[in-house]
Amino acid sequence: MTGVFSWNLIADIRDMWSVAFMVNAFRAGTIVAVLAALVGWFMVLRRQSFAGHTLAVVGFPGAAAAVWAGLGVAYGYFGFCLAAALVIAALPQRGNRGYTEQSAVIGTVQAFALAAGMLFIALYGGFLGGTSALLFGSFLGITQSQVLILALAAVATLVVLALIGRPLLFASIDTDVARAHGLPTRALGTAFLLLLGATAAEVSQITGALLVFALLVLPPATAQLLTARPAASLTLSVALALVTVWVALFVAYYSPYPIGFWLTTIAFGLYVLAYAAVAGRARLGTRATHPIAAGA
């Protein structure tokens, strides 16, 4: 618990934003939410959630190694996540899409990453408070320069995503035809894993390595549940991620529980609500497949 809650929401928000690190937390959270919502949307569509989660977990030893080596945490996150993305991309691909046959390999990488992270922490010594932040997220002490790094990496990632987005969608749902249309589907897959690695590195810095799903999976999955129109679905995904991050930061500021818990709970709550709404619609006889938030 950082602030004192007063039931006057306007005053509370003003109070919260008078604290410099909370302003930075909101900036960082907003950047990360937009990025996670858009990259995560493709990840959910491509059924690469497991790869995404692994990339995030790999960020943990990365950050721990960076702390141990006395470098900025961000370098550790980005370095390890991008390297792991290349490793996953290099695994032999079988089947049209998905990583089902590689899940054992990816799972092994994940276990090894956690072990390596704990090793770096042991090597560093006296880092126990930070461990929980690396695993479950923290919004305290985000600096101006960290926000800047997040913003630059996010812009770079989103520019690339905008360039390859449409061919990536094509290659994701219709690989053979995309290849016949001359698209380099394998290279697109590698490029996407790198974007996912960069995104996982960014998101872990807020949610912690273990709770990236709160932003990377839940908002896109909720959006895809509500509408099947790609443009509306992407927009809705961003809106849901922003609501999740903003509300979680606000609640976390006034509550004794960690940010990762609130992020996950809110995102999951929104998913459950959406699921119930769609199921309710189906029961009422209207087609559940019809977009609910058509204009969103």
Binding site: L45, Q93, R94, G95, N96, A162, L163, I164, G165, R166, P167, L169, F170, I173, D174, T175, D176, V177, A178, R179, A180, H181, G182, L183, Q224, L225, T227, A228, R229, P230, S233, R287, T289
Partner: protein, 303 residues
């Protein structure tokens, strides 16, 4: 291949069938347009195994051609070789007069057994739209081009009679509905040639007949040549100009009546094959060998 016991597959031809046809003998009555596909002495090797060798085949503009043969003989591989997706070990392929892979934008391709995951939350119209401009880099910018694309997609959806369900998520549609939308997708760029890999497979009989009729109607209306791969020729028989029967040692082409005969198929497969006529004018091919790849083929998991 010979270790697998012979199976029976049904293929039908008009009972008037001639009994011996020279390979690569096109129908003399038909006015041949420009050659769209030319395969010459082609050999395909996959995973160290020769799938077929010495294959010659040609398709001319306006033709409706079936590629026939037992499962695993390499029909899908032949389509992929034509598109340049699978390299040949020997021989040449020319597509629309160019080396493979260079004229694919004028070809509509429907790969084998594509059914979308039931949980895929993308609409039918979106899948059709990808066939039109899915290979363009950058964001789709709203404007005249985007409106034209939307109009073209609506036109395609109406052409295949899918307007009633094209706005639903494609994973929730039936096999026949998905197949119609995929045909619309293949037609998106107004191709000169359609390469359809077993589009009738996994459809029930009424749907097979309906989709076959649809393909034939579109082929004529849009002046597209069609190469259709089939395991069972029955549903498309009445629409066919020519068949290409594929075997491991080459291909035989001609009218169905010329090719689907005991003598031709026995020579092609080097094993006694009998073509029987049923009372309703269908012919049954008896003793046709099945290649060993049958089960892997069933799931279509290869890239």
């Amino acid at each position: 291949m010979s270790s697998t016991p012979p199976r029976t597959a049904t293929h039908a031809v008009p009972p008037t069938g001639g009994n011996s046809a020279a390979p690569h003998d096109p129908d003399p009555d038909r006015e041949a347009g420009p050659v769209l596909v030319e395969v010459a002495q082609a050999t395909a090797v996959l995973g160290g195994r020769t799938i077929w060798a010495g294959v010659d085949a040609a398709v001319a503009a306006g033709e409706f051609v079936a590629i026939l043969g037992p499962n695993g003989v390499g029909k899908s591989t032949l389509l992929k070789a034509i598109l340049g997706l699978t390299p040949l070990a020997a021989g040449t392929v020319r597509l629309l007069g160019r080396p493979p892979g260079q004229a694919n934008h004028q070809v509509g391709y429907l790969p084998q057994r594509r059914s979308f995951d039931a949980s895929l939350r993308v609409r039918g119209v979106d899948v059709v739209r990808l066939g039109l401009d899915g290979d363009r880099w950058g964001l789709p910018i709203p404007g005249r081009r985007s409106r034209a694309a939307t109009a073209r997609v609506r036109e395609l959806v109406e052409l295949v009679g899918a307007a009633g369900y094209a706005h639903r998520p494609i994973g929730q549609l039936s096999g026949g509905e998905q197949q119609r939308l995929l045909i619309a997708q293949a037609l998106a760029r107004a191709p000169r040639l359609l390469l359809l890999d077993e589009p009738l497979d996994s459809l029930d009989l009424p749907n097979q007949a309906a989709v076959a009729a649809l393909i034939s109607r579109i082929a004529r209306a849009e002046e597209v040549a069609v190469v259709i791969v089939a395991h069972d020729v029955n549903p498309i028989l009445t629409y066919l100009d020519r068949v290409i029967y594929l075997g491991p040692g080459g291909a035989v082409s001609g009218t169905p009546a010329q090719v689907i005969t005991s003598a031709t198929l026995t020579t092609l497969y080097g094993t006694p094959i009998e073509v029987l006529s049923t009372s309703d004018g269908r012919l049954v091919v008896v003793g046709q060998p099945e290649a060993p790849a049958l089960h892997t083929d069933r799931h279509g998991t290869r890239p």
